[in-house]
Subunit: 401 residues, 2 copies
């Protein structure tokens, strides 16, 4: 069955006619007074509304904007427990003991599968109704072989973009034996996780894993068939970006504390800089310098980093608004980064744009242009969502039935 | 019919047993493991879930939090047109001509009633599904007798908290004749508007109206039976707060640039300081110093200022998150300010709390505590809303029917 989406005020395509999606320096592109045809789950045609071919079904957008579904390329959704008290203490400048990632690791290990699965389902559903049609999901709160294997297997139930993050932190039981933990991560834990994952990730930061350790984790992951990505330069200057670029990582994530050499390395590589402004909003850490990266020609993506500790938003619209307000990205740059940029960070060419042949992942916005995501911050503007051509039908607000 | 709302993880009441709501220095109060009975549109009982009396209908909250509906005491919703291009230019640091309030005034004057009414209905609906069960609505984009009268009459169709704001700015056609415009505002325009309004407001700021002009507008409004409120000290130091306190205003709104004398005046008066952090988010102006006000004992409210120019959010949840992140209010202070504080700013004792006898305006939150509004910024957490005991049933996300 084909669907004509017509009377679109602004159709954000991120694709020019003749573009080969996913190649070359992409940029925001949009049509006004446009229409789009979905056929067999794919974008079959885009162009002026008056020239649209016929279709089996017609959706009149009444001048509203249509965007590609968001691609959230960084999320930690396999966990149990919550840390709202730690958050409230941090915001109030009060000390808080017994918080941190360890509390999430303990809760996650203790949780039965069905609890983790239900939490994951709730969060991915919440993301979907906010317009996220592609998401990456990391392990990293298990930190034993069986717990990490369980995490990636659960993540694989909801997305193909599964990341093995055994090298998140050294767990308490290995505190005196870093080498032993790295042997576990690069050995039996990796073997147990690799069949369920596409990516390997490492938190390369003072207090987590250094350059040599990170490179070893990525090399082991590669040998097991996984593609690399890196948590880099979030909390201070460090080797993360250089490790990522040297490993050919698809993305270096966070990128707050960068040297000129780091920026140059990103600009001259295929490694995307993924910025996560929800983290800075939720921790009061400084925002990354998006303009410096963009000026240097670095490809920038935006993602949520949704996790119970440093940032528990699942909202790509909020990340777009924060990118505009706090990182001075233009509304076009921010929307591109949240869609096509995320796709680059996942090495995907089928999502993040609405060129012909793309997967028909669409957001109908309650406003005439993409700029409304920043112009109307916090407002639930996502009016309808299609994923692979299928309309998502659940209401956000309970309908009382 | 009575309804039992039970298994509430955290029931925010803003009322202690024996409290006389709306009197004395109020503060956040909550019960855990609680229940609430709605009867005839009012709160009939609150207490431990295990002790709840029977009711005709039962709603199981499954451990989620229930809050009083938000009271948004400052919004400009009667307008036509939009200013997203002006917003995008401001965020990008680009000059922008022909924007500003004058463009909204021109569009509003030119719009037929049904356009204004539809926009108003859309925005109030959007607010309701985000948990705003009481809202104030100002005129101020008409600035002729008939256009202001039309605005307050339309506003009165959606809320009793209607504010006459003829003294928003001096319109272009009176540029050389301020005295003439003030005569109009305090004379025929006020006479035409007063029957539809409860409040009179004035923008007391350099470039708008000075202390004498503002006092004259408030005095005329009072003589016509309206209660005063003031836009004060938003863009720079000035007499706004002192004018507000001297007039016995219910609220001085914005309050960014305050002298010690201004803070003292607020603390020793019944005038609430209403803070509007969505404006600072959308303009990059400095946030008001909420902690200074709270430390001095000033009653603080939070509101959206929803308008097409300086802040087009309608989201009280975002305002709570911004108050916590940017103004260092605790989550309790912010939620109190967005509910009971707003009620104080409108001199209402029936809303903003869930003491026995209050109007049954409730929000069911998708999280176990009020802190989730800040812990999960941008996420549409409002799962259900009751206004005067009636459940609101429209979905935010179009259900495709």
């Amino acid at each position: 069955m084909s669907t004509l989406i017509t009377n679109v005020g602004e159709l954000v395509t991120n694709a020019a006619p003749g573009d080969e999606p996913g190649r070359g320096p992409g940029s925001f592109a949009a049509l006004t007074g446009a229409a789009l045809i979905i056929d067999d789950g794919r974008v079959a045609w885009t162009g002026p509304a008056g020239q649209a071919p016929a279709a089996d079904e017609v959706v009149d957008c009444e001048g509203r904007a249509v965007l590609p579904g968001f691609v959230d390329s960084h999320a930690h959704l396999v966990f149990a427990g919550e840390r709202s008290a730690e958050f409230a203490a941090r915001m109030a400048g009060r000390p808080y003991r017994a918080g941190g990632i360890r509390s999430t690791v303990a809760a996650t290990r203790a949780a039965p599968d069905e609890v983790l699965r239900a939490n994951l389902a709730r969060l991915t559903r919440e993301m979907l109704v906010q317009g996220t049609t592609t998401l990456e999901c990391k392990s990293g709160y298990g930190l034993t072989g069986p717990d990490e294997a369980r995490a990636v297997a659960l993540a694989a139930e909801v997305t193909p973009e599964v990341t093995f993050l055994g090298a998140h932190v050294v767990p308490p039981e290995y505190e005196g034996d870093r080498a032993g933990y790295l042997d576990l991560v690069c050995g039996p834990m990796l073997s147990a996780c690799a069949p369920h994952a596409r990516w390997v990730d490492v938190f390369c930061e003072r207090g987590a894993f250094d350059a040599d350790e990170a490179a070893a984790v990525l090399a082991a992951g590669r040998a097991a068939g996984l593609l690399p990505r890196v948590h880099a330069n979030q909390l201070g200057p460090g080797p993360g970006v250089q490790v990522a670029v040297a490993a050919g990582a698809a993305s270096a994530d966070h990128c707050t504390y960068l040297s000129d050499a780091d920026v140059d390395a990103l600009a001259s590589s295929g490694t995307v800089a993924t910025l996560l402004p929800g983290v800075e909003f939720s921790t009061r850490q400084p925002y990354p310098d998006a303009r410096r990266l963009l000026a240097a020609g670095v490809t920038v993506a935006l993602a949520t980093d949704c996790n119970p500790g440093s940032c528990f938003t699942s909202s790509m619209p909020l990340c777009v608004a924060l990118a505009v307000r706090e990182m001075r990205m233009t509304t076009q740059e921010a929307v591109w980064a949240a869609t096509a940029g995320g796709a680059r960070a996942l090495r995907r060419t089928d999502v993040g744009h609405l060129g012909v042949g793309a997967r028909a992942d669409l957001i109908l916005l309650d406003g005439p242009s993409h700029a409304y995501l920043a112009y109307r911050p916090g407002v639930p503007l996502v009016r309808a969502v299609w994923r692979a051509g299928q309309r998502v039908t659940a209401p956000v607000l309970d309908d009382g039935q």
